[in-house]
Symmetry: C2
Subunit: 240 residues, 2 copies
């Protein structure tokens, strides 16, 4: 008996689509009925997370909480949020529902610890707001790994790239500039790169970057499929 | 103010993913918040529609009705079912909810009447069960168009192709056999081909078939986006 995955989605919608595809690819299935049930609330009307965190935007917490409650009411046994920046509001979301909400930074750190026996430095490509929250820095500190991030000019490139993906307007020059930032982190000692924004795997990969990546959207999908197909009890919601 | 699109999905999940992508592509948006809210219940546990129609399978009506009610309760203003064969159960689904449920055959016929000034013969590639229901034949008769379908051996090829798409196991030979069936319908007088199964656009297109196609999944997505972004009243549910 499979569990149903609830998706607090739409942040952005292309990243939710990519998450859905990664769930399908990660599911061992030869026919419809062997696939997993997902309740996806693709709610792009949720206010932008970045400005809210950086100081001057509408608070997305009420919309995030309402969307999580909506997928729970529709039958979700566990919830994922395929948007890294939204995890700044994780505690309020988890507190609002009875089912466990996966935490993307913890899952990425968990995947990193399984994949690398020792990780000294890891690069982070993410929104300025995600970098500012320190959530990846905290999660990887527990592994003894240091997170390195682009400089001010580089962060501007990454933010521009992320918003261009949302607008379906990425050109070769911008993509190349994003690749250059990843390689720059590698020269600064990063042995792997966290794609810590669910838009970034749509344009960056191990083939383009030429070094190991931790794709936060893929990791979240694989963990969700593992839990949904497992006969083990789900982890209890983390209350803080 | 946009309307929310409810999706009775999972039949199959790859077709639901394709529908989602077609909605995103059809939506004029430069940022997350300009995109549409969708409530997708990707419920691949719904029993297979084909065997139920052809005589020896579990009735999917209760699961279809429950899934439609679920997306309505979660906030859908209109409902789509990106599975042609499921439309055999359309009346029961529409009767179970207050919001309008689009009817894919009527929408494909409507798109055909806008695209072709006169259509004498149209080919239908669909599941054996969809062909047997006569739903496309009825919808196109209203346009004065005759629907032509593959012969027994050809229908076996198309059914095999559809189930292979669900299993992500299409090889070149099977794809070529599907293309040959479409071209055979063209030689039998079809001026266009209805891809009357939402799995088929994943492997067949105008480029491969070399003749005009009516992609039922794309048409459903475009109509849904048009209604969701329109300021006009929605069409009333069709009660029969």
């Amino acid at each position: 008996m499979h569990r149903t995955i609830g998706v607090v989605g739409g942040m952005g919608p292309w990243a939710t689509l990519d998450f859905f595809e990664k769930v399908l690819r990660a599911t061992p299935a030869r026919r419809d009925q062997e696939h997993l049930r997902l309740i996806i609330d693709n709610n792009p009307k949720i206010p932008d997370r970045g400005p809210a965190i950086l100081g001057d935007g509408e608070d997305p917490t009420p919309a995030l909480v309402a969307t999580a409650r909506n997928v729970e009411a529709a039958g979700a046994d566990l919830i994922v949020i395929p948007c890294n920046t939204a995890h700044h509001f994780y505690q309020a979301i988890q507190a609002a529902v009875r089912v466990p909400v996966l935490h993307i930074m913890r899952e990425v750190a968990g995947a990193a610890s399984r994949r690398f026996t020792r990780l000294g430095r890891v690069g982070l490509l993410a929104t300025r707001a995600t970098v500012a929250t320190g959530l990846y820095q905290d999660a990887f500190r527990l592994l003894g790994a240091e997170v390195v991030v682009p400089d001010e000019r580089g962060q501007e490139v990454i933010d521009r790239l992320i918003y261009a993906i949302k607008a379906q307007g990425v050109d070769d020059a911008l993509r190349s500039a994003g690749v250059a930032e990843g390689r720059g982190l590698n020269r600064a000692g990063a042995e792997a790169i966290i794609l810590g924004c669910t838009e970034l795997p749509l344009v960056l990969g191990e083939d383009t970057l030429g070094l190991p990546i931790l794709d936060s959207n893929l990791i979240l999908a694989e963990v969700a499929v593992g839990l949904a197909t497992s006969a083990e009890p789900l982890p209890a919601p983390v209350r803080v």
